[in-house]
Structure formats: structure tokens, C-alpha cells
Amino acid sequence: MNNLVCKDIVKKYGKKEVLNNVNLTLEKGKIYGLIGRNGAGKTTLLSIISAQNPATSGTVTLDDQQVWENQKTLDKICFSRELNPVMGNGAAGLKIKEYLKIAAMYFPNWDNEMAINLVKEFELNVKDRIVKLSKGMMSMVTIIVAMASKAEYTFLDEPVSGLDVVMREYFYKLLLAEYTESGRTFVISTHIIEEAADVFEEVIIISDGKILLKENTQELISKAFRVSGKAEDVDAVTLGLRLHQVEITGRGKGVTVILEEGQKIRGGFDVSIQPLNLQNVFLAFCGKGEKG
């Protein structure tokens, strides 16, 4: 089994528990979307499964081999972290070409041709220092490292943050082209949920340090609906279902339902039933007023 498996991962920073017993299996050859609100634990999770950060307890294994301090498995994993101008590790002061050179030493399957090509595509100047780059340009550098690493398991933390819509589109195309060609596994965290939804085979929703769900994106969307109409009619058709995002205005009512196995919305009443997109599903689970 070529899987990356997290078992009972707990991460505490002092008294604060950031990850709370995370169990997760990432199957080889899929593109996963990792979504969650600010501070949900996305970055911490990615840094732990790539062994850049020790877990307080729990294990991460790749093909049953421990990932932590195991060069053989680490060679197969790339976590291209978000860059920022005040990073403590000194990367901020480096020129782009120096940063890429270090990355090249780090990843045994580094594809230098691809890196050079992407620098050109993104119109970056390799002599610029990281600290001087705009937010979008820093994202480009992290994307280049992730792509050219050719690592079997590649994690990207908000790769599109700061990118304009043209570059975001370019990134999704690049990602899909690389994925189709190589069959690498990607985990991508993002807040721009809707435009990435079609790219994700599976979506992982993380909330308050817990995995809320991990499911095939299209299947998840296909069972999520917004039901609205006269309050008593809405209540009648959704009887027994778990309701999210309940909204009442006068005699009207709107609710979001995510149908579980065997459940359905009853018929026989004049209500509107609208399909949801991934962003709406996310809001149903993690929106304000939802407990998750």
C-alpha cells in the first residue's frame, strides 16, 4: 500500500491544542483539497505530515515506514511552505536563484529544467531577493519549488494566495498537467474554495484541529442542498434531517441539508430545492453559528 497515513496525531503549542487526534490516510495518486478556517490547523497538519514539525504524539508513516527523521521517506515528500518577508530561517534574504539552488539540493528528483521554465513563465527575475517580492511572486516561488521537486507526495499551503486570476488559472492548469503526467499526490490548502473545487478529487475539511470530513468532492456536493419556502413546508420535507445554516425571515425559512446514506428530502410540498457548491457546503459545516 502506497499510502501516507497519520495516526492519532496530536499537536500542542504550550497548552493550546492545535491538532486533536487526527487520523488521515492520503492515497497515492490523488489531488486533495485541504480546507478550513483561519487557525483550523491546516498548516500545522501539513508541516507534521512532511516531518518539518514534530507531533506531540501520534505517528506519520509512508508505505508503513516512519516519516520522521527517515531520509528515505522524506525524499518522497515535499512541503513547499508559504514564504514571507520576515521568515526566521534566513530564506527571506536569499535571491530566488539561491533559494531554488537549496531546494535542488534538498529534493533528489529535482527537475531543474522545469524550475527554469516556470521562472520564465511566471516572469520572475532570479536575482530578486525573496524579501523584496510581492505576495503573489512569493506564491510563485513556492509553486515552482513544489512542482520541480517532483516529490511523490507534494503539499502546497495556499499556493494561490496573492496570485491574480490569470496566474491562478495558470496554476490549476499546471497542476493538472503535472498530475496527469506523473500521477503524483498533491494536497493543496486554499481559501479560494470554489475555483479550486473542480480540481480536487477529494476534499478534506479541518475544523478546530479535527478532520471534519474527507470525501470525494463531487459526491459530497451531490448530496448537499438548500431547501427554502414556507417554514412549515420546509420543516415537513426536512423532517428528521440535520439542518445547517438555518435562516428564518417572517413565515419563510431556508435550511441547508447534507444527506446521509439513505436519507432524502421528502416530496409533496412547494419548496425550492437548490444544489450547493463546495463553498456553500463548507459554510454549512464551518460557517459562523455552526459548531462543526
Binding site: R226, S228, G252, S272
Partner: protein, 120 residues
């Protein structure tokens, strides 16, 4: 007014249709106050000008009227008016499409009628 906005058509058209639906479903009754522009803005996170445009469509069609200083109200007889209008659109919006798909599937008129009657 609890439906979701979609990307399929202009927001102001969706706003006016939702209000019509609410009137048809007796969620908002005739002579009752309709949601204000501000309420619509809050509910849907839309630009006030867009909300106003949606409301104005219904004012022009004699479905809503303004009570100065109080807000928008549903005209007496509005429900009947909406039903009349929707009936006129029914052929274009539903029957035409139904016939096209039926023809595509080779469903003849008799078969179609049987199907409709079966559902009663």
C-alpha cells in the same frame, strides 16, 4: 426570501423572482410589508443598487407599491397578477422545453399525455 442566489442569471431578476415565489407561497401576504432594500442587502450580501433594481421591477409590474416613510408593500391582487404572468410564461419556460426533449426521445403526443395523466 430564503433561496440562494445562483450564477445563472442576473441577481436583480433572481431577487424579483424570489419575492414573487414568496407571494405565491403565501410567505408574504397581500398588503403586507415586503423586505426592505436594507434587509435584502444584508440577507444576500449584494449591492443596494442591485436590490433596488429587483424591487423596482415588481413596482413597475404593479406587484409592490411604496408607502412613503414605511416601506414597500404587496399590492392587493398581486398574487393573481403573478399567476397570470407566470401562466403566460409557462408555455415558453416549460412546455416548449418539454416538447423538445420529448421529440428528442421519440415520445409521441399520446404517450406524453398518458405520462402527464399518470402523475395525477
Amino acid at each position: 426570501m430564503n433561496e440562494m442566489l445562483t450564477q445563472e442569471k442576473s441577481i436583480y431578476l433572481q431577487i424579483s423572482e424570489m419575492l414573487e415565489n414568496d407571494i405565491l407561497r403565501n410567505i408574504i401576504l397581500e398588503e403586507e410589508r415586503a423586505p426592505s432594500i436594507n434587509e435584502l442587502v444584508k440577507l444576500y450580501t449584494i449591492n443596494p443598487a442591485t436590490a433596488t433594481k429587483g424591487i423596482n421591477i415588481l413596482v413597475e409590474q404593479g406587484i409592490l407599491y411604496k408607502k412613503r416613510g414605511i416601506g414597500m408593500f404587496v399590492v392587493k391582487g398581486a398574487k393573481g397578477k403573478i399567476m397570470e404572468k407566470r401562466k403566460e410564461e409557462f408555455y415558453d419556460n416549460y412546455i416548449k422545453k418539454l416538447l423538445v426533449e420529448a421529440a428528442r426521445l421519440g415520445i409521441g403526443q399520446d404517450e406524453l399525455l398518458t405520462m402527464i395523466q399518470k402523475n395525477k
